[in-house]
Structure formats: C-alpha cells, structure tokens
C-alpha cells in the first residue's frame, strides 16, 4: 500500500532479533513435562508476559494459553506490517491476509450460528491487513449481507458478493468460505510474474509451495475419505505440482497420488521420509508436520542465502506459527492426558 521506499534492512534486523527470542527445542522438552498452569507460568516468564497478565483474570488453564498465544501472534505480525514499507510490505501482506480470511470466516460462522459478538471477538487473530476498525465493525453487524457490505473495497468483496447468491439458494456456508480462500490464494501469486533467480524467485517459489501443499493436502484428504466431491472445485491455481486434470485423475488413486508427489523434482527429495511414512502408515498428520518442517527448514536456509530480502521475515513468520501450534498442542495434549511420547509426535521440531 505504501509508496515509499522499501526498507528490508530495518525489518530484517528487528525480525532476526525476535526470531532468537522464540522458544528453542530445549524449551519444548521442558514444556512437555508441565501441566497447563505451569506452561502458562513458563510463558509469563518469557515472551508472553503481557498477554498472560492481561487475560489472566478472565481465562484460566488451556484457554488462557490459547488466547495468549493468539494475541501474541497478532501483536508480532501487526508489528511486521507496521515496520515494513514499499515492496517488503506488499510481500508480507500477501501472506498475512490469510488471517483476514480466518477472521472473516469466523465472523460469518459466528453470525450463522447466532454466537454473541464478544465470543466471536476472542476467537479472532487480528494479524491480517484489515484494520482493527473494520474488524470491530464486522463484529457489530448482524447479517452476512452486512458483513459483505462492510468489506466493500477490499479484495474479498467481489468474490463474496457473487458467492452470496449461491449461499442464499443452498443455505450452506461452503460457497462463501470457498470464495474467501480462492480470493486469498489467487491474490497470493497475482501479479508477481515468474522471476527466475534471486530472492524474488525464491519468494514466488515459497508461495507456490504453499499452494502446492494446500492442493496436496486437499487431494490426500479426498483420496483418503473417498468422499464423492469434484476435486476440481477445490483446486487452486498457481502451483507447479499438479494441474487441474492431473489432480482430478489422481484423487481416485491414493498410491498414484503419493508417487506423483515423490517424483516431483522440487519436493520429492525434501519430503522423502514423510512420504515413506505416508505410504506405510496412514498418518496424514505426520505428513503435514513433515511438510511444515520442510518449509521451515527451507525458509531458514534461504534467509542465510539472501540476508537482505523478505526471506528472513518468512522464516520468522513460519517459526512463530510453529511455536504457537506447538505450545497449543502441548497444552491440549496435557489437558486430555496424552503421554509425553504421544505429544512429542504432535510437535513440529526440526
């Protein structure tokens, strides 16, 4: 949005320092042995002091941990957008809009199920590009039509508007949610072109990977559940792993699908171990974790290859998301009484 010069040096310096403040793998091993209140205590002593203190009076136990994690994530990602200017801002915002999608979806679902707006409000992650003012207005409105009206001028308006008719006919939220996802993913690669070298190319490759894995995940789930859905409807343009017809063909044959991913020159090697497990066991979760870990490792490497580019920011964003998910998994796991080994299975540790 901003037209001023881009400032990757400044953003990089701040982001790298915050990256170092994240929990280390050592810390996770400590956290696995703690109960929910101890985890909250541990978080308070580290990065999450402010959020735990602010929410401590209203929530307790796992809820406290979960809401603090979301607040902290939102705070840090908002900071990123605040620091960045010019080109860097654009590159970061493209990815962070995924939280806008999440928020709008949550609000629409809340309205659909008549949930009070305070309750919806606590579930939002205000990390996206939509300003707080707009999000607050979205929380106040009472019908889905008004939600679409408030979003006028954003990139979600048109797809939502055209999906609304469909929603009125069927009464199901799926068309609206698909429209949101589609708007996000189509904008992700939108006008970037196809640079062939340097950090720009890596950035595009990174976003393509995001789309590819989303497609792969959807396809694997469809193949596994055997649901009778048209896979082309879930296909997202822009990836390099599948094209539309390939995806439709592969969904019916699970083994061929796994082979197709393994044969891909770009991802096959990196996901070797995960694909082997996917073949023998039926652990889709393990595969998703392996994908997350592979992406994170890759972005880490890129951030040392291209020190002054957007790579370091992405390595931070991914690492922070991973931290939030790991702590949440630990807290939830402890709550339902999983053993330490079982929780460790759920974590994404490099």
């Amino acid at each position: 949005m901003s037209s001023s010069a881009s400032n990757p040096e400044y953003v990089n310096a701040r982001v790298r320092s915050r990256r170092n403040a994240l929990f280390s793998d050592e810390d996770y091993r400590k956290l696995i042995r703690m109960g929910p209140s101890e985890i909250a205590r541990f978080m308070e002593e580290h990065e999450y002091e402010e959020e735990i203190n602010r929410l401590g009076a209203r929530f307790s136990g796992v809820d406290l941990i979960e809401y603090s994690l979301n607040r902290n994530l939102a705070k840090h990602f908002d900071d990123l957008l605040e620091w960045a200017d010019g080109r860097v801002y654009d590159q970061i915002a493209r990815y962070l809009r995924k939280f806008d999608v999440w928020n709008v979806k949550t609000i629409i679902r809340g309205i659909y199920t008549d949930t009070p707006s305070e309750e919806i409000g606590t579930d939002l992650i205000r990390a996206g590009e939509l300003p707080d003012r707009t999000v607050d207005r979205l929380l106040e409105v009472e019908t889905i039509e008004d939600v679409i009206e408030v979003l006028e001028g954003t990139l979600f308006y048109e797809p939502l508007d055209s999906a609304y008719e469909h929603y009125e006919e069927t009464g199901a939220l799926v068309p609206l949610e698909n429209a949101l996802d589609r708007a996000f993913y189509e904008n992700l690669l939108g006008d970037l072109g196809r640079p062939t070298e340097g950090p720009e190319a890596m950035y595009v490759e990174f976003l393509q990977a995001e789309i590819d894995f989303r497609n792969a995940r959807n396809a694997l789930r469809l193949a596994r559940s055997g649901a009778d859905l048209d896979p082309a409807e879930f296909y997202i343009e822009g990836g390099v792993l599948f094209d539309r017809s390939e995806l439709s063909r592969l969904v019916s044959d699970y083994d061929a699908l796994v082979d197709h991913i393994a044969d891909d020159p770009r991802y096959g090697d990196r996901l070797d171990a995960a694909l082997a497990r996917l073949r023998e066991a039926d652990s889709l979760i393990a595969f998703e974790h392996a994908v997350d870990a592979a992406l994170l490792e890759y972005s880490d490497r890129l951030s040392s290859v291209y020190p002054v580019s957007v790579s370091a920011v992405f390595s931070y964003i991914l690492a922070k998301e991973r931290e939030v998910e790991n702590i949440r998994a630990i807290a939830r796991g402890r709550e339902v009484g999983l053993s330490e080994e079982e929780i460790e299975e759920e974590l994404v540790i490099l």
Binding site: E9, Y10, N12, R14
Partner: protein, 94 residues
C-alpha cells in the same frame, strides 16, 4: 535499495562529462590537475560510503529498537564504511 543507484550513476556521469570538456579546452598538460582528481576520488568514495551506511544505519536502528545490541556497537558498525573515505584521503598526499 536500488532506487538511489541511478542518482549515483548520474552524478558520476556528469562529473566525467565535465572532465572531458576540460580536456578539450586545455591544449597541453593533464586533463585535470592532481588536486582536482583527488577531490573527485574522495567525493566518489564518500558517496559509496554514504550508500553503504544507509543500509547499515537502518539495520542498526532496527536492532537497537529490539535491544539486541548496544548503542556503541551500533555506532561502530554504522561508521565502518567511513574507512573507505579515509583510504581515499591517501590519494591527496601521494
């Protein structure tokens, strides 16, 4: 990051042009005096140092805002490219 490069190139270009003009005027002797040549060298070195410090300065302010380095280290890193100008000063005295 690249936006400022054309300006630098432009400045260097116009300097080179004036040098060529002078060369056409003067029938004998070197195109420019030794002192003037050294001045051009120092000036270019200063432009280079300034450009380098721009990036480092931005990064240092960012790091200082996160409290990850001390102000002393920050200032030291920022002025490191200044050594370029000092080396260029050598040209004045030889």
């Amino acid at each position: 990051m690249i936006e400022t490069l054309p300006d630098v190139a432009l400045a260097a270009n116009s300097m080179a042009e004036s040098v060529v003009l002078q060369a056409e005027d003067g029938a004998s002797g070197p195109a420019i005096e030794q002192g003037a040549a050294a001045a051009i060298g120092i000036g270019l070195a200063a432009i280079g140092a300034g450009y380098a410090e721009r990036g480092i300065g931005a990064a240092v302010v960012g790091a200082l805002a996160e409290d990850s380095i001390s102000a002393g280290i920050g200032i030291l890193l920022t002025v490191l490219p200044e050594t370029l100008v000092i080396f260029a000063l050598v040209a004045l005295f030889v």
